[in-house]
Subunit: 135 residues, 2 copies
Amino acid sequence: MSRADDDALAQAWHDLMGRYQRMMCTLDRELEQHGLNASEFEVLQQLHSGKACELPMSALAEHAHLTQSALSRLVSRLEKDGLITRKTCSNDRRAQFVALTDEGRRRFREAKPTQRQVLREGAVDCPQLAPAATS
Amino acid sequence: MSRADDDALAQAWHDLMGRYQRMMCTLDRELEQHGLNASEFEVLQQLHSGKACELPMSALAEHAHLTQSALSRLVSRLEKDGLITRKTCSNDRRAQFVALTDEGRRRFREAKPTQRQVLREGAVDCPQLAPAATS
DNA sequence: TTGCATTCAATGCACAAGCAAATAATGCAT
DNA sequence: ATGCATTATTTGCTTGTGCATTGAATGCAA
């Protein structure tokens, strides 16, 4: 791969950084009115969409693109807010099961349209998201 | 736009988050051996590639996808590290001109192959970057 | 000139993140 | 049963970020 290709790749990465940061920032700012940030929303979404309304931390970690320590604290925050509950697994007492509370479900449903709208607006100048949006 | 499209968009965004975070994380980890993080690298790159080796903060801010305050601190860090110098503009003493030092130029050249390699490796499973990479 | 709105940058503050170490529960080998 | 490596999660610590505020320099109007 040539240096020119490398530079093009660097440019593409640079652009992606910009679009991502802008989107993430907008998302955080808009979701704030629901008392959530983008990562917290993703976790609630995972819990909400799952057939099982109850997931182990490990499953959430995989989904949230966070380190396990960041996820642990995120879950603590949501728990303190009353949006989810932690329950120690009876089979393996190291593991924790996380479940949405009614309030959590309510909050997610409330925030979802906001998130979707930000995505739609942002997707306009974000080719990375366009393909999926135009399907 | 239908709810199904919205959900597809949300999925695309979710995937993008994952790829971005992974790439960013790897980049930060690998660049650490050069005493830089991804944002700092981007700023050095901007200074290095510019014809003028001297840019106002405002120009850097535009490029770095950071808030002005984050950029201010980033520049402070690089200055403390001796990679750049700040110089008050003589025409408008509010503005600061930032320039690479020799050490900064050296450091950037040293870090660049590392960054490019991470990008190449990451681009493999990151369709967002592929188009530019295959041009 | 004086006053005032504007602009550029720096700073106080709070917070979320990563890394590394600690804690705790398991499972397995002896 | 005992010791030990492994796995799941939490916690201490440091750092980079955003937002809001402040400080400083500028330009313009009266």
